[in-house]
């Protein structure tokens, strides 16, 4: 049987639903030796800010059961260097490259959106309203529905025709409330979820394992939380949802699609092996064939709930 892995999402056509998650795939170029970037459904690059950011002190990462904590602190080269040195080397004609935006206030977010939306080769903007690792802003936007709405609106105003995705935090009482607020603000799609705030300590040295003390938990350990969030949000909003959190196989991809996601992002699994996202993208059509899934449009959201 022939299978169709194509996905349409906020005006973009992805050749498959397998994208990479911001902060786990560098600027894409780092992973080019390990696979053909054009084979991915999309590449979401490391979070960008207006000015370069140095990031947090070390140690920044710690391994945890089935996952890891990170407090990188959004170290990045800044939007100017990205547009000048990184973007031109990415295969933007063959696969959508999505810029992930980080800023400290709505004004900065809007300015950043203006710069990136006007840049040829940037297919969409993913707004990080949920990074847990920076002191100013970040998660505060992601925890307050009215702020999430205002921020989305501000970005949307400057984004022109470039689609705006809003990346949500799971560190909230009700993710659906934030999701609805982002949609009210004009979000074209929602990315669920960012990392879960966590902590790890060493009983011998009596020190936290991260210099930042707390960090974001990711990896297979968080997949059930991500799946639940995606399912809840998909039921509540009409815009497409992009699932992310602990995905490390084609089977995991289908789980997220089954609960309603249009597409997914591979995050921490890129660290398990640098060709992971490429392998998952290659495996997906074969798995669809095995399961008799002809198109993802038909499969999406087909979860059978107990009556």
């Amino acid at each position: 049987m022939s299978v169709d892995t194509t996905v349409r999402l906020s005006g973009l056509e992805l050749k498959n639903p397998v994208m990479t998650a911001s902060g786990t795939f560098g600027y894409g170029l780092e992973f080019a030796p390990y696979g053909d970037l054009r084979e991915l459904g999309g590449i979401v690059v490391k979070g960008l800010s207006l000015a370069p950011r140095p990031g947090n002190p070390m140690p920044r990462i710690a391994e945890t059961p089935g996952g890891m904590l990170n407090a990188i602190g959004l170290q990045n080269c800044g939007v100017e260097v990205f547009l000048r040195d990184k973007l031109p080397r990415l295969p933007v004609a063959a696969t959508p490259v999505v810029a992930n935006l980080y800023a400290c206030d709505a004004g900065e977010f809007a300015e950043l959106a203006g710069v990136l939306a006007g840049a040829p080769g940037v297919a969409a903007l993913e707004v990080n309203i949920s990074c847990p690792n920076v002191k100013a802003g970040g998660i505060a936007f992601g925890q307050d529905p009215s702020m999430a709405e205002r921020l989305t609106e501000a970005v949307k105003k400057r984004a022109g025709n470039t689609p705006v995705w809003v990346k949500l935090s799971p560190n909230v009482t009700d993710i659906v409330a934030i999701a609805r607020a982002a949609v009210l603000g004009g979000a074209d799609a929602l990315t669920c979820i960012n990392t879960l705030t966590g902590m790890s300590v060493d009983i011998r040295t009596r020190k936290p394992r991260l210099a930042n003390v707390v960090g974001g938990l990711s990896g297979p350990a968080i997949k059930p939380v991500a799946l639940r969030c995606v399912w809840q949000v998909c039921r509540a909003v009409s815009v497409p949802v992009i699932g992310v959190g602990g995905i490390s196989s084609a089977e995991d991809v289908l789980e997220f699609l089954l609960v309603g996601a249009h597409a997914v992002q591979i995050g921490t699994a890129n660290f398990m092996r640098p060709d992971m996202a490429f392998r998952i993208a290659a495996r997906l059509p074969r798995l669809m064939e095995e399961l008799g899934i002809g198109s993802l449009d038909a499969y999406r959201g087909s979860l059978v709930l107990p009556s």
């Binding site: 030796p33 990031g55 089935g66 170290q75 092996r273």
Partner: protein
Amino acid sequence: MVISGICRDVSILSVAAAGPEGAAYGCYVIELENPGFAPAVSGQFVMVRPAAFGGDPVWPRPFSICRLTPEKLTLFVQACGRGTNILCRLAPGETATVWGPLGQGFALEPDVPTVMLAGGVGIAPFVEYAATHPAPENLSLVFGHRQPLSCYPFEAMAGGIGRARAFHEQTPEDLPAFIALLDETMAAFAGGLALACGPRPFLVTVARLARKYGARAQVSLENRMACGVGGCLGCVEKNALGSYVQTCTEGPVFWVEELSLLEGA
């Protein structure tokens, strides 16, 4: 900076205790199929994630290339945590995902008197360095170790190079004598080249002595790493300008003056 690398699933060829007491002290030599690597620069490293990890631990583990031949990749591993304990119990025929060769290796200046300063398992990259050096008579080795000497590839190396000296640090009280040996060594090689690999406090001492004698020295860092390819920004080290540099792609080998190892030390 050239970004390159190969990622393959390869077979474990052998896992053997290093020397008669290796098993008791957790020191192992692991041989894997060469994943298709061309000759590497000594001091470069590989990431290894055996299939036996399953979904946990999540991260691969970084190891210096101890020896690389067209057929085999050899690693020297000390079982000291979850990952290395699984690795050291693998059986021949089991598979591991390996990617590399990664990062920047040690400087090679064949005619310059060069001393390799190794601490414990940090001797690993120097096995390859000595084996591929065009003028091994110009090489010296100063090796500090806590486990019995037979647990390390010291004797095999010592025969092929100019001079080799081992120092057994049995108790913390032995430390000043070892530092004195490093001091004396660094003074002697002030006009040469010093290369160091070992625990961080050891590298800080090397950096301090290099400054004291104006010696040219490189250190190989062992920062905690997730991806090994520059994707996660987790393994950074603070450089002399106060910026964070990636240990995986810009290191693991750095000239000491590029870093700020002495800050707060």
